[in-house]
Structures are given as structure tokens and as C-alpha cells.
Amino acid sequence: MASRKSGGRLRMAIDVGGTFTDVQVLDEAGGDPWAFKTPTTPEDPARGLATAIAGAARAFGFDPADVYLLVHGTTIATNAVLERRFPKAALVTTAGFEDVLEIGRHMRRDVYGLHAETRHVLVPRPLRFGVPERIGADGGVRQPLDEAAALGIVRRIVAEAVETVAICLLNSFANPEHERRLAQLLRAEAPGLDLSISSEVSAEMREFERMSTTVLNALLMPVVSGHIERMAERLTATRLSAPVLFVQSNGGTCGPRQAARQPAHLLLSGPCGGVLAVEQIGRRLGEANLVGIDMGGTSFDVSVVRDGRMAMVTEADVDGSVVRLPMVDIRTVGAGGGSIAWVDRAGRLRVGPESAGADPGPACYGRGGREPTVTDANLVLGRISPDRFVGGAMPLDPAPARSAIETRLGAPLGLGLEAAADGLIRIALANMARTIRLSLFEKGLDPREFALVAFGGAGGLHAALMADELAMTRVIYPLNAATLSAFGLLWADIAHDLSRTRLTPAETGAAAKLAPVLAALMAEGDALLDGDRVAPAERRFEAALDMRYRGQGYEVTVPLGRAALDEGVLGGAIADFHARHRERFSHADPDAPVEVVTVRLRAGAHTTKPAAQPFTPAGVPAAVKRRPVYLDGRWQDLAILDRASIRPSEPVEGPAIVEEDYTTILLPAGWRIALLASGNLLAEKPSLEC
């Protein structure tokens, strides 16, 4: 295998996904990142992670001891939620409100459903304890904490032998005193217990959302700390001694201690890698507005980068559980290569959301799948090569694909094979395009002002067709699309998002009331950055205020640009609030009273990053093959190129197919694709107007 020549410092990123563990290693002395892939080991992801490190070291000839930083994206928290693999937990809340966790916001999603949708009760009723106490909305103590009752509850919890406890009292964001006292009592009686306190996890107004977030955090603490411990043991064996940083749902990293303490922040760690990569590609290419589409086997994920930064949300739903924390805004629909097409009782041709998954998988996998899928349709239409799927490791069989499409779709609908296969793909495309359009429309944005970044195994086949649907004219196909999430992790920065609700009318004197809240958050941020060993000079603080018109039930986040609050800054923020409100909701009312709801602070550090290196083309000879491909309603003899054979100065005109090991790019007529200095491919459709 290759042996390393330079002695540069190595930065390593590992993305542990559902199927594969992907590694990227960047030698800061120069060159492109190395990419490596091994299967994920779901029973103990740390094992696959260690295998990946050892494998990459062998393949590229480096010593793991030379790695100075390991950035880790993980689905451990997400999977625990999806599989409901939780330890035994208790919840302590204000007496009279023990059922808030179960009642929730009680709105159903399925308007016409005859049967109730399943609601997951995270902690069962007998393990939810109410303690007599009451804090008012203004933070005042309405009823003191009943110490004797509290102690009784603590003893019952200890007797129940739970592993972890969540504490969430009403209005604790305004005054955490009672929550802290309860935590003290619990720690005194049961020092080994994991403890999650709502005023520390998510000090924001809205009791159900805060409670749900705190309980999830409590449930994940033993899961994530177990993973961290197992990982530490495995890493020692690989000779890798670098600090490990975990990527959080906000795209920023944190150290292992913080990850173990606030694991709810890891729930979207997995998908963040891809979005970080889209951000990085945008920086590299000077593109500020991008839509990332990640199309794999079962789902289609859309993310948005606007003005160079990933779009965020302050609350999200993770498989039916509400999490109120800042997270990357990712919209998912069940549309992937494995999505199954079917004819419903009304005679409609439908695609998804059910997926054939990996086993049996699409009919063409030859593992007994009988249902036609998106991948089957692409194979039947000649758009993917049967002998180059997953780099040739998995030959595809067109015969069962053809038969599935003919019998399940063609016959009942009276369509020929090609028409049925092509129709299946067009319907899937319409669903995906609608998802992108809505995702932008909700933010008041126009798709035509964005470029698409296509990744995931099936992204390349569909991106340009989708762009055509949306009148978008540029699509970027990243280098190493198959390990793109890991590539994105290489560029992550330390970032801790902190917040506290302090409902305050935005009038004279407000800055003086809010400044101490910001100062407290700064102190908290400093403590976290101390833990990350970030030097004071490298620390970056960005503050923001969630504001609204008095009486509204939703807020607009207004960045302050820095971390200071005086009358001048607040005045600027109020003006900015009216402007942002107008942009987002198309109206503003400068005379109406405004209130500040929540103070936010991002405490982070810009880690030094290597300069991007120019891409060295592989210089594979341009051996152009041809094969019949069904496109635009007819069979055409198309050029099939190897991605590595495309030269910087020689763009390729569509229609054509570009193949690489883990993905295929379909370039329709009217499009032209070119190799950029960064190694990414850019497809463009010249405007028809002059």
C-alpha cells in the first residue's frame, strides 16, 4: 500500500452511519483527503470505528499516533431513540403536572385517521413523581419546595433502581432554585445516578417541549457515556491518542465530557456531516446559497445553506419525540433508491414511502425482493451499470427488476416496461422536487437562486432531473460523494449553543435586565471552552435574542453580531426584529410593543484549518464506452464516462452518463458538466434566454 511521504499533522474524521463507517484523513502538509469505508458494527459501533482507523492507516500508510484530532459524527443517540433502547428512568416534576409528558400538545398529524397515531411515552406513569412546589411565571416562589416530600421521592427513586433521572419543574427557566435543590438531594442519596436538569438542558419557556428534551437527555446519558467509554478503550488499542470531538446537531463540536452530559445535542449528529460538507464546498467555490440533497437507499434529506451558513431550527421532532434545541434544519421524505412503487386501490401509481431497505432490497439485488423500486427502474432504463454498483462489489440482475416492474406496475396500469420504469422515476422526482420547493418557500426563498449539491448513493442520478423540475440551473457533484459526511466533519468547529428564557418587554431599562442573563451564559460558555482547552484569544461568542410582538406565540431569532448588551445594542436589535419579521412574515408593526423571550449565546472557537489544496486529476485515459439509455421518452446511445477521465479544460455535454465507484451521474440534454479546480464537478444548464 501507499506510504506516507510528508510528515504533516493528520486530522481525522469518522462518520458512523447506519450501514458504513466512513473515514477521511487530511494531511495538513498537502494533498487531497484520503477516504476509507468499512461496514458499521451496530452492536458496538466503537468496534467498527477502530477497524476503520486501523484499515485506513494500513491503506494509506500512516501511523494513528500522528493524528492530532479526531472528529466523530455518530448516530448512537438517534438509533437509541429509533429503536427505543432506553435505560430505566424517572421524572420529577411539579405536583399536579406528572402527566404533562404524556398529554403533550395533543394535536394529531393524520387529519382523517380513524386510529390514533402511536405516541411514545418516554417515562411510564409510575416513574413520574410530583413534588409540591411552585415557581411563578415571573420567577417568584409561589410555593416553597416541600423538602420532606422531596426527600421521600428521592428515596423512592433510589428504591426503584433507575439508571437516570430527569428533573423538570414548571417555570424553572425563570428560577432554577428548586430544580437545583432537588438535584442536590438526589446526588447526596445516589451519587452514581445520571441526572438531567431542565434549566441546564434547555432553559426555555414551554413546559412540554422542555420536559421532553430533558427526559430524552436523561435517557441518552447512559447510552452515550457507554459508547464513549468503549470508544476510549478501542482507541487505545489503535495507538490513536488524539482528543476526540463529537459533532452535535448544530454542526459544532464538543468534547466527550459535554457529549456525555448533554447527549440530546447529538441527536442530529449523523446528518450534520453532509451539511457541513455542503457549507465547506460553498466556501471553496464561493457559493453562498446551496441546497444539499442526500439521497440514499431509504430517504431523501434536504438541507439549505444560505449566506454561507446552514439553516437551523430551534425545535425538531425526532421520531415522534420533541427536542427543543438548536439543530440543523433537515427535511426528510421517504424517497430513496429502495423506495417501493405500487398501484393503490384507486388505481394510482405511487412511489414510497415504504422502502425495500438493504434486505431483501430492490428486486435487482437478487435477494428475493419482488417489489419494483427506484433502483430497479434506473437499472432497467440503462441509467446504472449492472456491474459497477458499489464499485462492482454487488452485481445487479436486470431480469427480476424487469419482471417486478412489468407485473406490479406495467400490467395493472397498461403501460410498457420503459413507460412504467420512467414513470416511476418521474413520480419520485416530483415528490422530491416538491420537498425542495416547500423547504425554500417556507423561508421565503426562490429555488432559482440556489445551486444543488448532490450526494448519497442515488443523488447523482436524479439531481439534474430534479433541477430541471425546479428551474434550477446549477448542480454540484462533490468529490468523494460516498464519504462526503466524513469530509464535512473535517471542517467542523467547536460550538456550544446556550439559551435562557427571560420574558422582558423591550423598553427602556430592558438591556440592564438582560445583560446579567447574557453574562451568566458567557460564564457557562467560558467554562465549556475551558473544558475544550480553547485559549481565551481563540474564543468566539455570538449572542442573539428571540423576540416577538407582545401576545404572539412564536419568536424570531435576531443575531446581535457580538456578545454584549446595552441600550444601543438592544435598540439595533429591535429595529432588526421589525425588518426580519417583515422579511419572514411579509408584515411588521413598528409601533407595536416588542418583547424579548429568550437570550441565546453560541460559544465557540475557530480551530485552525488547513488551506484547501488544488485537486490533482487522476489522469485516467478517456475510454468512452457507450450503452443504450432510456431518456426523454426514447432509447439513446449515450456516452458513458469515468469520472476520473474528465479533464479540467474539457467539459462534457449532455446527454451523458458519468460513473464512479459508489455513484452515477445522469446528465440530461441541455446540461454541460465541467471539472473544477477543487475536484468537484459542476453541471450547468445555460439559460435559453439571451
Partner: protein, 545 residues
């Protein structure tokens, strides 16, 4: 000229129509001002065929199904389609012209391509106030619709793109929050424009003939799917009746009586024998009756039936004008949701006789709408308006859901912390209500308990509840759910209140306790597995005696 759309294009166009309705919906949510629209999401948007039939809709409440027949009502009886021009916007809120009640304003706009009327776009939104005897236009004591607010007959607010300022001024002069109403109305009109652009985009891309043919085909397909679903039911005649406890004025129950006839691929719902309309705002109009039946049938017969005007063709609805389910002017109707709940209970009860393995027992069937006006020492007032949910009826194979929106009701609870920061009240309990689910082989879902205290010196409370006397029914031998109750707690005394109260004077420290109904049980209680019962006791859903 007929074009026969292929199944692929049909599906792509269906997707495009739905996307256009969704974009309209996002446009309303993004630009509306009021809490009713933005937080309670009480609005809907739709796309219509050139002849007025509905082809796509976006809504979170089943009650939004009234939007489509409303357009038909306007076209058939008020403003004929031939008289609609480019740039017109027609509005109405009159329940006797197709709206549900006065707070709901509907708006429609025709869409023309190359001079030909291709379709309509429409929106419905619940506005904060349309005037009348009580804030929010919810006058619980109304004897006639005139007390409920301003009635807008179908009229052109815009004619060929020009706003009729005088009509708008007349409207705004008569409502409590004119700026909010104007903002929400303009947001509805902006959404009409978004929908129009969506329809034009589709026409531009696929051509008018394909668009029209696809719309026809979608309607036909939906009708055929519904006919097949009905055909699969055994033919028969089923009777079912249920009632509201009382109308809040008198003390006698108000009965709804249904004769359901299933014959071949059609169904007939005959409500002719229901009680006369009452001088209290719990009546509903025929449009609400019909749309509520449509909702219940869609829910009962399955998910593969596309929801558009086509699927309702095989359903015939009959009622006698002047009855509580087909009120005639000037009957008050603002709380028509009371009647809609009971219509669902009755329709499901009748359908259960044809589909005994599928239909659940009765759900709580009340929206628990209540209002508290608090008056501070300095005279400052705040109005707290809310609603609650109860338990679902037990399903044949599964317990009913606890405390969850059901039937024609779909609302999100406003956080207690948010309410306490806005109003001088303190909540003392928000909890499930043990033992409230009807016993059965499968158990009805639990209702809930909500209790709050007035912190201001004085206040006035009003509520319109039901199911205090006649509980949600059980099926197949299951027990009914527990009835609801309303209690005033004052200085250690508990005083049971009627289900419908208005003008109740409160003082500081008074507490209002609301207990909502549980769902009915399914199957004989004796057949409940011992372990399911033990689990209920362990969870505290059932007390151990």
C-alpha cells in the same frame, strides 16, 4: 376535446395540485397575524376545477371540508361562474351561504388562462373577531345570528383587481380588532395569488387540455374508489341516535336521529327525524352536516380514497330544514362544533353496525371551549380563551388514546407557561383522569383534568361543554366513558356547574376545575385480559378497587 392522461402524468399533476395548495397554506401561515390562524392553525386552502369542484386541499382540521361545498353554494345561488372576471376576489362568512359560522371568512378567486376559466383558488380562516355580543364573536347567550356579529353575504371584495374600500371599511368598523382582521384577510388574499400562480405554472408546463383532463380523471378516480369501498359493505339499513345534553337555555336533550341506508355502491344519511333547531348557538347548517358526514366516511372507509369532490358523489345527505342539523336563518350557530361532534358520534355509531370490526367506540365529543375575562385592580383586562380534549373511544383491537385530539377536533394545547406569562392565572393541575375510560375488552382512552386559579381581583367565566349527562357510548358490550364535569372551587367549597355557563363572576383565589370525558369501551369488560387490567392499575389509569 378529450385527452386521456396517462397514469404517470396524472400522478405528477396530482402532486402539482397538492403542492399548489400546500404553498398557499405556507403563505397564510407565513403572513397571518392572529393566534387563531398562526398557532391554532385554524385555516385551510384549496384548489378547484373550473366548474367549482374541489381537486386539492391543505388543512389540519376536518372541518375544512366545508370550504369546497361553500364555493358550490356561492356559484349555484349567489354569483354565477360566468360573472367572475380576472382579478375578482369573492368573500363571505355567512353560514347561510356556505360558511360554518361568522368568524370564518372564506375567499375565492377565479383563475383564467387564455381567457378561459381554468379553476378557482380558495381559502378559509378563523378570524379573531367579527363583532357581535361577545369578544371573539362567541356569544354563548345568542338567540339569533344577529347577536353573533357581522354577516357578509357573498360579494366581490375585489372587482377586476380593484379593492372595494367602502365594503372593507364597513366591515372593519364593526369588529373589535380591525387591524388584525385586515392583516389576516390580506394574507388569505395573498395566498389566493400564490395558488393562482401555481395553477398557471401547471397549465404552462403541461398544457390546459392535460390539466383539465387530469382534474376530471382525479375526480372520477376518487368517486370510483369510494364506490368500490361502499360496495364492499353489506347492504342494509341502520339506525342510530345520540344527543347533546341540553342547549344551555332549557334543560332537555337535543336529539340527532340517523337512518343510514347502504345500497350497492351508494349511501344515504337521513337525519330528517332530528330535533328542531334551538335558540342557542349549538345548531349547525346543512353544509356543516354534509361535510361532517364526509369526514366521518373518509375516516371510516380507509386511506386509499383520494379526498376531493369526486369521492363524495356516492354519499347522499338528507335533513329537514329547521332542524338542529340543518338550521335556517336566523338560528345562532357560532358553536356549531358541538353539533358536528355529535354528528360524528352518530355517523360512526351507525357505520359500526356495518363495520363492527373497524369502528371504535365514541370519543369524548366536546371541544370544551371556555373563556375567562380577568379584570386587574387597575381595570386592565385580559381575555383567556381555550379548549381541551378527552379520551378516544376504544378500538376493536386496541385501547383508546388518552387525552388526544379526535374527530372534528384537532388543536394544539397552548403551553401553560405561556398562558401564565400572559394572564393573571395560575394552573394547579394538568393531568390524566384515572378511571374515566369506558371499560371493555379494550378500554376507552382517559379524559383529563385541568384546573386553574384566578389571581386578579375579579373575572367572568363562560363555557360551553357537553357530555355531562349522556356519556360517550361503548360498542359491542363495552361500557360508556365517564361523563365530564365543571366545578368552581371557592374557599374550600366545591360547586358543580352546568355544562354551559356564561357570565359566572369569579373572585381572586377561585379555582375552575375541568374534567373531560373518557372514550367508550369496546367489547364485554369481562373479556379484558387480566394482564391488561393489571397494567392499567400499575400505570394508574385505573384505581385498584
Amino acid at each position: 376535446m378529450t385527452v386521456n392522461p396517462d397514469p404517470v402524468q396524472l400522478e405528477i399533476l396530482r402532486n402539482a395540485f397538492t403542492a399548489a395548495a400546500e404553498e398557499m397554506s405556507v403563505a397564510v401561515r407565513r403572513t397571518a397575524r392572529s393566534t387563531t390562524v398562526r398557532e391554532m392553525l385554524d385555516y385551510s386552502t384549496a384548489i378547484f376545477h373550473g366548474d367549482g369542484r374541489n381537486i386539492a386541499q391543505s388543512a389540519l382540521s376536518p372541518m375544512a371540508l366545508t370550504l369546497a361545498p361553500c364555493l358550490m353554494e356561492v356559484l349555484d345561488h349567489h354569483l354565477p361562474a360566468d360573472d367572475w372576471r380576472v382579478g375578482d376576489v369573492v368573500i363571505t362568512n355567512d353560514p347561510y351561504c356556505g360558511s360554518q359560522h361568522l368568524p370564518d371568512i372564506v375567499t375565492f378567486r377565479p383563475v383564467f388562462v387564455d381567457g378561459r376559466r381554468l379553476g378557482f383558488t380558495g381559502t378559509m380562516a378563523h378570524h379573531v373577531d367579527l363583532g357581535g355580543g361577545s369578544p371573539g364573536s362567541y356569544d354563548m347567550t345568542a338567540k339569533e345570528i344577529y347577536a353573533e356579529g357581522v354577516r357578509i353575504p357573498p360579494l366581490r371584495l375585489y372587482r377586476e383587481g380593484r379593492l372595494n374600500e367602502e365594503v372593507l371599511a364597513l366591515l372593519l368598523q364593526n369588529v373589535r380588532q380591525p387591524a388584525v382582521l385586515r392583516g389576516d384577510l390580506m394574507s388569505q388574499i395573498a395566498a389566493l395569488d400564490i395558488g393562482e400562480r401555481g395553477l398557471r405554472r401547471i397549465a404552462g408546463k403541461y398544457g390546459v387540455p392535460a390539466l383539465t383532463a387530469s382534474a376530471e380523471r382525479m375526480l372520477d378516480q376518487a368517486e370510483a374508489a369510494m364506490r368500490r369501498a361502499i360496495e364492499a359493505l353489506p347492504d342494509g339499513v341502520h339506525e342510530f341516535s345520540d344527543c347533546l345534553d341540553d342547549d344551555g337555555v332549557g334543560d332537555t336533550p337535543v336529539h340527532l336521529r340517523l337512518t343510514l341506508t347502504i345500497a350497492g355502491d351508494g349511501m344515504r344519511f337521513d337525519f330528517s327525524n332530528s330535533d328542531p333547531q334551538v335558540p342557542a348557538p349549538i345548531n349547525c347548517t346543512f353544509n356543516v352536516l354534509r361535510s361532517t358526514i364526509h369526514y366521518a366516511v373518509i375516516a371510516a372507509l380507509g386511506r386509499d380514497i383520494p379526498v376531493n369532490s369526486g369521492c363524495f358523489q356516492p354519499i347522499d345527505v338528507v335533513a329537514r330544514p329547521g332542524t338542529c342539523v340543518a338550521a335556517i336563518a336566523p338560528a345562532p350557530v357560532v358553536n356549531r362544533i358541538q353539533m358536528a361532534h355529535r354528528i360524528v358520534n352518530v355517523v360512526m355509531g351507525a357505520l359500526a353496525k356495518a363495520l363492527p370490526d373497524r369502528i371504535p367506540a365514541a370519543y369524548y365529543g366536546v371541544s370544551y371551549v371556555y373563556m375567562l375575562e380577568a379584570v386587574e385592580g387597575d381595570g386592565g383586562r385580559s381575555i383567556y380563551f381555550d379548549s381541551e380534549v378527552g379520551g378516544w373511544g376504544a378500538e376493536p383491537a386496541r385501547d383508546g388514546a388518552n387525552a388526544f385530539s379526535c374527530g372534528v377536533h384537532n388543536i394544539a394545547a397552548v403551553p401553560i407557561e405561556m398562558l401564565e406569562s400572559r394572564h393573571p392565572i395560575t394552573f394547579t393541575t394538568y393531568a390524566l383522569r384515572p378511571n374515566s375510560g369506558g371499560a371493555g375488552r379494550t378500554r376507552g382512552g382517559l379524559g383529563l383534568v385541568r384546573e386553574f386559579m384566578l389571581d386578579a381581583p375579579t373575572g367572568t367565566f363562560a363555557a360551553t361543554f357537553d357530555r355531562f349527562r349522556v356519556p360517550p357510548y361503548g360498542l359491542a358490550g363495552g361500557q360508556p366513558g365517564m361523563t365530564g364535569s365543571l366545578t368552581l372551587l371557592r374557599q374550600g367549597d366545591a360547586r358543580a356547574l352546568r355544562s354551559k355557563v356564561s357570565g359566572l363572576r369569579l373572585q381572586a383565589g377561585d379555582r375552575i376545575r375541568i374534567e373531560t370525558a373518557g372514550g367508550g369501551g369496546f367489547g364485554p369488560p369481562g373479556e379484558r385480559p387480566a394482564q391488561a387490567r393489571a397494567a392499567d392499575i400499575a400505570a394508574g389509569y385505573l384505581s385498584d378497587d
